[in-house]
């Protein structure tokens, strides 16, 4: 029903008019009652994501499971999204919201880089994410980790949780699977790790999270970002590091 015809009418009148012609108003029967959960639930990235900074760069990692309720809609999704040459974001929360937000940030960062005439700073990208997440906090379900390298500050990791605050950290974990690995990460993290140590740390932590969290799983994707570029790697589900499985 177009807006013009609805003008000035309240719900009751609307219902009466629609039922007179045998039409159910959209709000009367919730969609969920008519279709199964896996068709109506929002695409959620119950996720495990992580980023660790080292001297010359950053390692970002994520699992690859996207769920609609308990159905795995995509078992090989890519949650590591580039927003610029040396800046990546790890996305968790609503798949739609985070895709939309990262597309917008990518656009603005691109324009900013052209004006600046050089590669943008990681803090700038993080700030753009934060402004979108904070100003739209009521409409968004997005929890994002930004990891990247710039010439001014080297490797950096920024966490933007729900609500839209911005916190810089030496490493950050996020998504539903992260709750299971806070203890592991606190015990294993050391300042001044090398790139290889960081990669191992990320892979072990994410595999532990994926093993316990039903909303995380699939493959582990990692990107190593440093001054020379981005190295993307993937560890298949059957080649993940294995731990106690009882």
């Amino acid at each position: 029903v177009a807006g013009e015809e609805r003008r000035g009418r309240d719900r009751e009148t609307e219902e009466k008019m629609l039922s007179a012609v045998g039409v159910q108003p959209a709000w009367a029967t919730p969609a969920k009652a008519q279709v199964p959960e896996w068709m109506s639930e929002e695409h959620d990235m119950g996720t495990s994501i992580m980023a660790v900074a080292f001297e010359g760069g950053v390692v970002v990692g994520a699992d690859s499971r996207t769920t609609t309720g308990s159905y795995i809609a995509n078992r090989v999704s890519d949650k590591l999204t580039p927003v610029h040459d040396r800046i990546y974001c790890c996305r968790s929360g609503s798949a739609a919201d985070t895709q939309a937000v990262s597309d917008i940030v990518k656009y603005y960062l691109n324009a900013h880089a052209m004006e600046l005439g050089e590669a943008p700073r990681v803090a700038t990208a993080a700030s753009l994410f934060r402004d979108l997440c904070y100003n739209n906090k009521n409409s968004l379900q997005a929890s994002i980790i930004v990891g990247g390298w710039d010439a001014q500050q080297g490797g950096q990791v920024f966490c933007i949780p729900l609500g839209g605050s911005l916190v810089r950290q030496p490493f950050a974990v996020g998504g539903s699977g992260s709750t299971y690995i806070y203890g592991y990460c606190d015990s294993q993290f050391k300042e001044g790790m090398s790139k290889e140590e960081c990669l191992k740390f990320v892979r072990n932590a994410l595999s532990l999270a994926m093993a316990r969290d039903g909303s995380s799983g699939g493959v582990i994707r990692t990107c190593v970002i440093d001054k020379d570029g981005v190295t993307r790697e993937m560890i298949c589900g059957d080649e993940l590091p294995r731990h106690y499985e009882g």
Binding site: D10, N136, S139, S165, Q169
Partner: protein, 256 residues
């Protein structure tokens, strides 16, 4: 950057005529494309997500001292254990903030803009702590009236022209001053301790000890507190001093 768009607008959901109890000129009214003013449900009055707990403040002879821990909690998870919840504003004021951390960061911006616009005027203007406290009260109260609060409680401390100032503002715009102040759990547990300890000729060292003792009790009894605190002081000797985060000693022998 794109301005705020509500979920309802994004989905193109239709709006309905105001209900009898709704005022016609509510701030949340939006003009639709066909030029008809209709009611939209308020989308704000959010819930705090990443939160800071208590802030304490006490006056001493020749200054003011404020203490807060360095924790940003995510519900019950102690998620960010190294954040600063105390900020200097201008030359004479220091502010400790509890409540939502993203709104605190928004407040930081507001304070920065205030100080910058003062500096840009370059007319020798120098805001007193009372002025800053009053300014914050206006900001918080006006946001509350729009049903869009900054979900924080602030303790404002300052020293100018030989006078100490200690004031409180919260998300409702509640505002008052006193010799001792606390927000959050601190207002129940710590404030009586601060009140007992306060005397007009309290020295800086005594004030520091009082705050540390009170923060220790809060660590014992507040499940969202951290044993890593910062103390900021501002006084006659000049300058705002915000300490590096440090841990308090704790006593557990009673468990035996």
């Amino acid at each position: 950057l794109p301005s705020r768009v509500s979920r309802e607008q994004a989905r193109g959901e239709e709006m309905y005529a105001p209900q009898p109890s709704y005022p016609y000129h509510h701030p949340s009214l939006r003009e639709q494309s066909y030029g008809h003013k209709v009611q939209q449900p308020s989308t704000r009055t959010t819930q705090p997500i990443v939160t800071g707990t208590s802030v304490l403040g006490i006056k001493y002879a020749g200054g003011v001292m404020i203490a807060a821990d360095t924790l940003g909690s995510y519900g019950s998870l102690a998620r960010f254990r190294d954040i600063t919840r105390i900020i200097p504003v201008g030359k004479h004021t220091v502010i400790g903030v509890g409540g939502d951390y993203s709104d605190f960061q928004s407040l930081e911006r507001i304070f920065e803009d205030l100080v910058d616009s003062d500096d840009n005027l370059a007319d020798g203007g120098d805001r007193s702590p009372q002025e800053i406290h009053s300014f914050i009260t206006r900001v918080m109260y006006n946001r509350r009236n729009k049903f869009d609060p900054l979900w924080n409680s602030l303790v404002v401390g300052g020293y100018k022209n030989g006078e100490s100032f200690l004031g409180f503002v919260d998300l409702l715009g509640t505002s008052f001053t006193d010799d001792t102040l606390a927000s959050g759990y601190g207002s129940y547990i710590a404030r009586p301790l601060l009140r007992n300890a306060y005397k007009p000729d309290l020295t800086e060292a005594e004030a520091r000890k009082t705050l540390e003792d009170a923060m220790r009790v809060l660590f014992y009894r507040d499940a969202r507190a951290l044993n890593r605190i910062q103390i900021a002081s501002i006084g006659a000797e000049g300058g705002i001093k915000v300490s590096e985060p440090f841990s308090l000693e704790t006593e557990w022998r009673q468990g035996e």
